[in-house]
C-alpha cells in the first residue's frame, strides 16, 4: 500500500454520479492519476445534497472503488462544491504606500490583499475561494509582483467565490460522516478549468463550461487569472425533464432517448423522422418524433448558453477569451454541442480534454471526469506549495509566495 499521506483525492458529489479520483505526486512533482471510483448519485439535486443518507451511501461506494483501484487508503479529500448559491465576483483593494522612499514592501502587498478581501457578503454566506489577481501600482496595470517597485498606491483585485454556509456544510457533513477528512472545499467550475486549461490557454483567455447533470458552471480565465465564475442550476437533468414532458414519456426513457438520439441541432436528417422506442423494461412501445426531441434539446441548450453569453457580455469579457470555449461535464457528450457553443459565443469552441495532467490514462480522459481530476490537481498544487516551503533553496521565492498567496 502507498503511503496515504502522499496521495491526493478529489471527490465530486455530482447530481448524476459521484466521482473520486486518486492521484499521487510523481518524482517530477507532477500528478499521476492512479485510481478512480464512481457511483451513481441518488441524493443530489441541482448539485446540492437533497438526501444526505443516500448521498453518503453513494459516496462510500465511490470511495471504496477508488481505493481498490488505487490500492491505497483514502483519508482525506478535496471536495468539490457547486449549486445555485455559489457566486463569484471581483473585489478591489487599495493601499497607500507608507514608507518614506515609497518602495513597496511585503507588508504593503499583504495589506492591500487584506483590504481587497474585506468584503460584504450576505449574512449566511462564506468565502470558498479568494483568488488574488494582478496588482496595480498607481496607474500601472498588470503587475505580478510589486515588491521592490516604487509607487504611491498599490491596488489589487481579488476574485471571491462564495456560497451559502449551510449548504456547503451539507456536503462537508456527508464526507465527514464517512470518517474522511475534507482538506479543502473547491468550486467545481474552478477544478474543471484546472483540469482542462493549459497555462497558455489561461494566458490567452478561455471560457470553461462544465455542463453537469444538475448545474452548469462557468469560469473565465484571461491574462492567466480568473476573471469570472458562475453557476447556473440548469443541466442535463433539465433536458431529460423537458423531454419527458414534451414527448410524454417517463423520465427514465427520456434519459435514454437523450443519450441515444440527442443532439444540439434540429438538422435536416431528423426532419419529420420518428423512432419507435421499444417496450423494454416493461415500458410500452411509443412513437417518438425525432424532430421534436431535438428541438426541445436544442432550445434548452441554446438558452443555457445564451444566459451565460449575456452575463459575460455585460461584464465585457467576451472579447478577452481568445483561446475559445471549452466544454466538459456529461453535457459535452451531446453531439454538436461545441458547434452550438461556437455559434452562440462567436468564438472557437472545443470539447475539453484533461490534457494538463501528466500520465493520465486515456481511459480517464472523459469529459465527465474533468471536475474530479481537476480537484486532484488542485490538491496537488496545494501540496506542492506546502512542500516548497520546506525546501531550503528558493527561500526568497517561497516567502513571496506564502505572503502573496495567503
Amino acid at each position: 500500500m502507498f503511503d496515504s499521506s502522499s496521495i491526493i483525492v478529489g471527490l465530486e458529489i455530482g447530481t448524476s454520479k459521484i466521482c473520486a479520483v486518486v492521484g499521487e505526486i510523481n518524482a517530477t512533482n507532477g500528478l499521476n492519476i492512479i485510481g478512480l471510483g464512481q457511483a451513481r448519485s441518488r441524493g443530489v439535486r441541482k448539485g446540492e445534497i437533497a438526501d444526505a443518507a443516500l448521498a453518503s451511501e453513494d459516496v462510500r461506494n465511490a470511495i471504496v472503488e477508488a481505493e481498490q483501484m488505487a490500492n491505497a487508503e483514502i483519508r482525506s479529500v478535496y471536495l468539490g462544491v457547486t449549486g445555485n448559491h455559489v457566486r463569484g465576483f471581483n473585489n478591489h483593494g487599495v493601499h497607500p504606500v507608507v514608507s518614506a522612499d515609497r518602495e513597496i514592501t511585503i507588508e504593503d502587498t499583504q495589506d492591500v490583499v487584506k483590504n481587497a478581501k474585506a468584503i460584504n457578503l450576505p449574512i449566511d454566506n462564506t468565502v470558498v475561494h479568494a483568488i488574488r489577481q494582478l496588482f496595480q501600482v498607481d496607474s500601472q496595470l498588470g503587475i505580478q509582483n510589486p515588491i521592490g517597485m516604487y509607487g504611491a498606491k498599490v491596488e489589487v483585485d481579488v476574485h471571491v467565490v462564495h456560497g451559502h454556509v449551510d449548504r456547503l456544510k451539507n456536503s462537508i457533513a456527508v464526507v465527514r460522516g464517512l470518517q474522511l477528512e475534507v482538506e479543502e472545499i473547491v468550486f467545481t467550475g474552478l477544478a474543471s478549468a484546472l483540469a482542462l486549461l493549459s497555462n497558455e490557454q489561461k494566458e490567452l483567455g478561455s471560457l470553461v463550461i462544465d455542463v453537469g447533470a444538475g448545474a452548469t458552471e462557468y469560469v473565465v480565465y484571461s491574462d492567466g487569472i480568473i476573471k469570472h465564475t458562475g453557476v447556473l442550476a440548469v443541466g442535463g437533468d433539465h433536458i431529460s425533464n423537458d423531454l419527458a414532458y414534451g414527448l410524454k414519456v417517463p423520465l427514465k426513457r427520456a434519459e435514454l432517448l437523450k443519450i441515444e438520439h440527442g443532439g444540439s441541432f434540429v438538422d435536416e436528417s431528423v426532419k419529420g423522422k420518428t423512432i419507435s422506442s421499444d417496450g423494454e423494461l416493461g415500458l410500452p412501445s411509443k412513437i417518438i418524433n425525432l424532430e421534436h426531441l431535438r428541438r426541445i434539446m436544442s432550445l434548452r441548450l441554446e438558452e443555457t448558453f445564451e444566459l451565460i453569453e449575456t452575463e459575460l457580455s455585460s461584464l465585457g469579457l467576451l472579447d478577452r477569451m481568445r483561446a475559445g470555449v471549452f466544454i466538459c461535464g456529461g453535457g459535452a457528450r451531446i453531439p454538436g454541442i461545441q458547434i452550438l457553443a461556437g455559434n452562440i459565443f462567436q468564438m472557437p469552441a472545443f470539447l475539453g480534454k484533461t490534457n494538463s495532467i501528466s500520465g493520465l490514462k486515456s481511459a480517464l480522459d472523459q469529459p465527465e471526469f474533468a471536475t474530479a481530476i481537476g480537484l486532484a490537481k488542485f490538491g496537488s498544487l496545494q501540496q506542492k506549495r506546502r512542500r516548497v516551503v520546506n525546501l531550503a533553496d528558493g527561500i526568497r521565492k517561497t516567502i513571496t509566495e506564502i505572503f502573496t498567496r495567503k
Binding site: 447556473l232 442550476a233 440548469v234 433539465h238 425533464n241 423537458d242 414532458y245 414534451g246 438558452e303
Partner: protein, 427 residues
C-alpha cells in the same frame, strides 16, 4: 347628433340630417357599394378611386375618378403620396360633394395608395365644410407585408389628425371568423360586410333618437384621442333569450378578441336598438355582463326603439383603449375645447372650419398640464388594475425539480421547459 343640431339651430323643427358616405380606394369602394345596397334612407353614397377600371365595377350609385390627370385613371399603385396628390388635384370637386353634409363617413382600406393617401384629404375638406367626419378603416392582413402595414399606420396617424373619429377594423382579426375553406374573395367580402355593418350601426345610433340618446359627441368622446385602438362590434339576436344571446355574442366576438378588448378598454359606447316590446330587464340583462367585463371603463349607453326591429335586438358596441404613445396631451385638450364649443353654438361648427391643424396647440398653464398629467397617470394606474385578471389555473410542470429550489434567472423559472416558456409549438 340629430338633437344637437336641432337644439342649436331650430329647436322646434325636425331637421333631416344629411349623411354622406365616401368609399375611397378599392376596399372603400367595395364597402360603399356593399353598404349602398343595404338600403339606408337619407344617405348619399359616393365611391371615389384613382383606378377607373375597378371603379367601373363598383355598384355604388355615384362615383368619380380621382386625380385623372395625375394617375390617368390607372390607380395609385400602392403609393399613398400619389393617392394624396390625386385627391388634392380634385379638391374642389370634393369640396362641392361635401356641401351640405352634416356627417361624412369615410370608408377606406388603409395600406394601399388611394385609400391611405386620399382619406386624410377627404377628412380635411369635409371638416372644412363644417361636417363631422367619421372614418371607418380596415388595416391590412399580416400577409400583405410589413410595408403595407407601415403605410397603413402612417395613413392612420394622418387620418386621426383630420377626422373627428376613426374606427379601425384590423383585417387580421377576421381570421378568427373565417374557416379553412373561406376563399380570398369571401374573406374580403366579410371585411366589407363588417365595415358596412359598423356603418349601419353607427348610422342608426346617430340618426335615431332613442329613449336614451347617443349622439355624435358621445361617439367622439369615446373614440377621440384613442383612435388607434377603437374597436367595434355588432350583434343581433331574436327570440326570448335575445338579451342573453346578444351579450354572449358580443363577449365572444372575434373583433373584440373574445371579450379581451373589453377588459382592456377604458371607454365603451353601447347602443341598443330593439322593437317596441323591448323590456327594461332585457337592457339590464344585456348590460350587466358588459359592466362586469370592464368595471373601470367609462360606459356610454344608448337605447332606441324602432318598430322595424320588432322581436329583434341589435347592439352596436365601440370600445376604445387609451395608449400611452397617443398624441400629445396639448392636442387632446384642444380637441376637448373644440367639442365643448361645438355643443352650444352652431357657429362653432363653422368656426371649426378655420381648422385646428393650422393652429399650434395652445399654451397650457402649469396647472392644466399638471391636471392632464395626473389624469394620465391615473388612467394608466386604472389600466393596470384592469389588466389584473383572474389567474388561470396553470399547472407548471417541473417534474423532478418539483421539490427543489427553483432556478430563477431574470424572473424566469428555468425549471420549466424552455420550449414552453418560449411558446415553441410541437405540432
Amino acid at each position: 347628433m340629430s338633437d344637437q343640431t336641432e337644439r342649436l339651430e331650430k329647436p322646434a323643427v325636425t331637421k333631416k340630417i344629411l349623411l354622406k358616405v365616401f368609399g375611397l380606394g378599392g376596399a372603400g369602394c367595395n364597402a360603399a357599394g356593399f353598404a349602398s345596397q343595404a338600403g339606408f334612407d337619407g344617405v348619399d353614397f359616393m365611391a371615389a378611386n384613382t383606378d377607373a377600371q375597378s371603379l367601373e365595377a363598383c355598384v355604388a350609385p355615384a362615383k368619380f375618378v380621382l386625380g385623372a390627370n395625375q394617375t390617368r385613371g390607372l390607380g395609385a399603385g400602392g403609393d399613398p403620396e400619389l393617392g394624396r396628390a390625386a385627391a388634392e388635384e380634385d379638391i374642389e370637386k370634393i369640396r362641392s360633394l361635401c356641401d351640405g353634409a352634416d356627417i361624412v363617413f369615410l370608408l377606406a382600406g388603409l395600406g394601399g395608395g388611394t385609400g391611405t393617401g386620399a382619406a386624410p384629404v377627404f377628412a380635411r375638406v369635409a371638416r372644412e365644410k363644417g361636417a363631422l367626419v367619421l372614418a371607418l378603416v380596415t388595416l391590412p392582413f399580416e400577409f400583405e407585408g410589413a410595408r403595407r402595414q407601415l403605410q397603413a399606420q402612417s395613413g392612420l396617424q394622418q387620418l386621426k389628425t383630420h377626422a373627428d373619429a376613426v374606427i379601425c377594423l384590423p383585417n387580421q382579426k377576421l381570421f378568427k371568423m373565417l374557416d379553412e375553406n373561406t376563399s380570398v374573395l369571401e374573406g374580403f367580402k366579410i371585411s366589407n360586410a363588417l365595415l358596412a355593418d359598423g356603418l349601419c350601426g353607427i348610422w342608426r345610433m346617430l340618426t335615431q333618437t332613442g329613449l336614451i340618446n347617443v349622439d355624435f359627441a358621445d361617439l367622439c368622446s369615446v373614440t377621440r384621442g384613442r383612435h388607434a385602438a377603437s374597436f367595434f362590434a355588432t350583434a343581433e339576436a331574436t327570440g326570448d333569450k335575445r338579451a342573453e344571446q346578444v351579450s354572449e355574442k358580443l363577449l365572444a366576438h372575434p373583433l373584440l378578441d373574445g371579450g379581451q378588448v373589453l377588459n382592456e378598454s377604458d371607454s365603451l359606447l353601447v347602443s341598443i336598438v330593439g322593437g317596441p316590446e323591448m323590456t327594461m330587464s332585457e337592457i339590464h340583462k344585456l348590460m350587466e355582463p358588459l359592466h362586469r367585463q370592464c368595471e373601470n371603463a367609462h360606459i356610454i349607453f344608448g337605447a332606441a326603439i324602432d318598430p322595424a326591429f320588432a322581436g329583434r335586438l341589435s347592439v352596436t358596441l365601440i370600445a376604445s383603449r387609451k395608449r400611452q404613445e397617443e398624441e400629445p396631451p396639448a392636442f387632446k385638450g384642444l380637441l376637448a375645447d373644440k367639442l365643448e364649443s361645438m355643443q352650444f353654438l352652431d357657429t362653432a361648427v363653422q368656426e371649426k372650419s378655420t381648422s385646428r391643424f393650422g393652429a399650434p396647440p395652445p399654451e397650457l398653464s402649469e396647472e392644466k398640464k399638471e391636471q392632464i398629467m395626473r389624469g394620465q397617470t391615473r388612467a394608466s394606474r386604472k389600466k393596470l388594475s384592469r389588466m389584473q385578471k383572474e389567474l388561470p389555473l396553470e399547472i407548471i410542470f417541473k417534474g423532478r425539480f418539483e421539490k427543489s429550489d427553483p432556478t430563477i434567472r431574470n424572473g424566469e423559472d428555468l425549471d420549466v421547459p424552455t420550449y414552453i416558456r418560449r411558446g415553441v409549438p410541437l405540432n
